[in-house]
């Protein structure tokens, strides 16, 4: 018997939301298949709390691939290790979180494990006749595509926020899988990291995103955006021109040429809703648009709209949410 295997990405000794989503998807897939769920951690050591967390989200076995070479993420080395596990244990189904590292790992591992790859899908694969079938978004949110494969192993990555992490506690056994990457896979060496900000929710994982555009007139006016984001526990984003002129950092730029996101709630302030902007945000579950121009194209893609001056509406909205949260905080 084989298993569904989830690559558990550990970031500074923690499991982030995309891994919890992957474990939840893996648990559901494993239950349908009647196979166990295993999590695999690749690293140089394992933080103490990780096994408990992994068990809480439904894994029955934790496989550790520990070696000093894995102290930082090197795509080739990690992929070689994962592929070795897939081959040796005859694993047919693999879930990889769709993070920066997961997206680098998946295609390499798919080749070395001789696997098919579904990336960025929004449904857990279902068996239809001979095929595994799943759905993904295509053409800048202007279409959906159903894809299928009869090829095993099958590796999947799920688009962020496609599945809500659910606890499903199992008792966990731990096993070591020994693997040392060949030197040729260690040629690209990470030599340092520059952090931009650590206190904020990462944009790609955020459930709520507050985003603003040229309508805010200047970088000095972003306080109202920051405050709204703060009461909501949201990440902040911006349109392209705003990042281009340096009002906001580039890593906040969302859209076709920026980051693509699909939070539960996207609040767009003073953004016209150009098609290239929508390409990155239109798969958000709910969209609230605040714009002074009733004809702004963004309203056509919105669930909620407030026509008004951002400088009046946004502080008012922040205040209303703060009041609501105070009243309902117990």
């Amino acid at each position: 018997m084989s298993a569904v295997v989830v690559w558990a990405e550990t970031t500074e000794g923690r499991l982030k939301k995309p891994t919890l989503e992957a474990l939840t998807a893996g648990r559901k897939w494993a239950t349908t298949l009647g196979e166990p769920l295993w999590a695999v951690v690749i690293g140089d050591k394992l933080s103490e709390n990780i096994p408990d967390l992994i068990a809480e989200y439904g894994a029955e076995k934790l496989i550790r691939i520990l070696s000093p070479e894995f102290s930082t993420f090197i795509p080739n080395a990690y992929a070689r290790a994962l592929a070795a596990l897939i081959r040796e244990k005859n694993v047919s189904y693999v879930v990889i979180p769709q993070t920066y590292d997961g997206r680098a790992l998946a295609p390499l591992a798919s080749i070395w494990a001789n696997a098919a790859l579904f990336s960025g899908i929004t449904t857990i694969p279902e068996k239809q006749a001979e095929l595994w079938v799943a759905r993904r978004i295509c053409y800048s949110n202007k279409g959906l595509e159903w894809i299928g494969t009869a090829h095993l192993p099958l590796i999947i990555t799920l688009k962020a926020n496609s599945i809500i992490p659910e606890k499903s506690p199992y008792s966990l056994t731990i096993e070591d899988f020994s693997f040392r990457p060949p030197v040729e896979d260690l040629r690209a060496k990470p030599v340092g990291v520059e952090k931009v900000s650590t206190d904020k929710v990462p944009l790609t994982e955020a459930e709520i995103v507050v985003s603003a555009g040229r309508g805010l007139k200047g970088p000095e006016n972003w306080t109202i955006v920051e405050e709204l984001a703060k009461v909501l526990g949201a990440a902040t984003a911006c349109s392209k021109p705003v990042a281009d002129v340096g009002w906001r950092p580039h890593h906040e730029h969302v859209g076709q040429t920026g980051i693509q996101i699909s939070p539960n709630l996207y609040i767009a302030i003073g953004i016209s809703g150009a098609i290239q902007h929508l390409a990155g945000v239109a798969s958000s579950k709910n969209i609230l648009v605040i714009n002074s121009d009733p004809e702004a194209p963004f309203f056509k893609a919105a669930d909620y709209g407030i026509v008004g001056d951002a400088f009046e509406v946004v502080p008012r909205l922040t205040e209303a949410i703060r009041r609501y949260k105070e009243q309902h905080s117990h």
């Binding site: 920066y100 680098a104 295609p107 295509c138 202007k142 595509e145 690209a188 650590t198 609230l288 909620y304």
Partner: protein, 252 residues
């Protein structure tokens, strides 16, 4: 130094998307195809490297695709646009890009014995956003893979790169050859000038027959996105009601 830029041929974002009656494919009629915007970053970076060292750098642009029926759906025209940035030669592998594995296999087979030092890709193409082909090519050729690269400098046969990661960037050093996928930042987009466009007309564009490879993933059907829910306009005076509704939906 030999550079291979791999580009994909995608519908312009502003284009209206419709599917064929059986849902199997994009209805290409009336659709304008462009070079994938992330690949534009790669072409611009290659052009910069070429400019700095015109005789020492040779850039090949490659696309796996068939020319469509209309002039707005021509892979060759997009390859010439790329050449107009001052790049050297183009290659079209004459096949429908069936899936990422198929495309990656074609590229790897072509590049295998050509001695490329740098393989440049966009981080994803805006039609299916798969982010698969660059990593697959790296694996097929056994080369270091750097994804979401935001800069690359070459010095004495090795590269210094930055790569986007959650909440920051990572610095990487790697010998050549290597494969990278580009994020915004790698270079500023360029627009070809008239001289470049004229010169591109007579540059070599090789059309190559594909290798026989079975794709691993097939398209079953497409459908339009689900219709948008009802739109609610809220008067600024009634913001409290909006907050209540967002709370009822569990959004805040």
């Amino acid at each position: 130094m030999k550079i291979l830029c791999c580009i994909s041929h995608v519908p312009d974002t502003t284009t209206r998307i419709q599917f064929t009656a059986d849902g199997k494919a994009l209805d290409r009629s009336g659709v304008t195809f462009i070079i994938n915007p992330y690949d534009d970053f790669v072409l611009a970076r290659a052009a910069e490297l070429k400019e700095k060292n015109p005789t020492g750098v040779h850039v090949t642009v490659l696309c796996v695709g068939k020319n469509g029926a209309s002039s707005t759906d021509s892979v060759d025209a997009n390859l010439r646009k790329a050449l107009a940035l001052g790049l050297d030669e183009a290659v079209r592998i004459d096949a429908e890009p069936l899936d990422a594995f198929f495309v990656a296999s074609q590229i790897a087979a072509y590049a295998q014995d050509k001695g490329f030092d740098l393989f440049l890709f966009g981080k994803e193409s805006i039609d299916y956003n798969g982010s698969q082909v660059p990593g697959m090519v790296a694996a097929l050729l056994g080369l270091p893979f750097i994804s979401y690269a935001t800069s690359i400098e070459i010095l004495n046969g090795s590269a210094k790169l930055t790569r986007e990661i959650t909440g920051g960037k990572e610095l990487i050093e790697s010998p050549l050859p290597l494969v990278l996928s580009a994020q915004k930042g790698l270079a500023e987009w360029r627009i070809p000038n008239v001289r470049g466009i004229m010169q591109a007309k007579s540059k070599p564009l090789h059309v190559i027959a594909p290798l026989s490879v079975s794709p691993r993933v097939q398209t079953l059907r497409h459908e339009p996105p689900p219709p948008k829910g009802t739109f609610k306009k809220i008067e600024p005076e009634r913001i409290d009601e909006l907050v209540q509704e967002l709370a009822n939906k569990g959004l805040i």
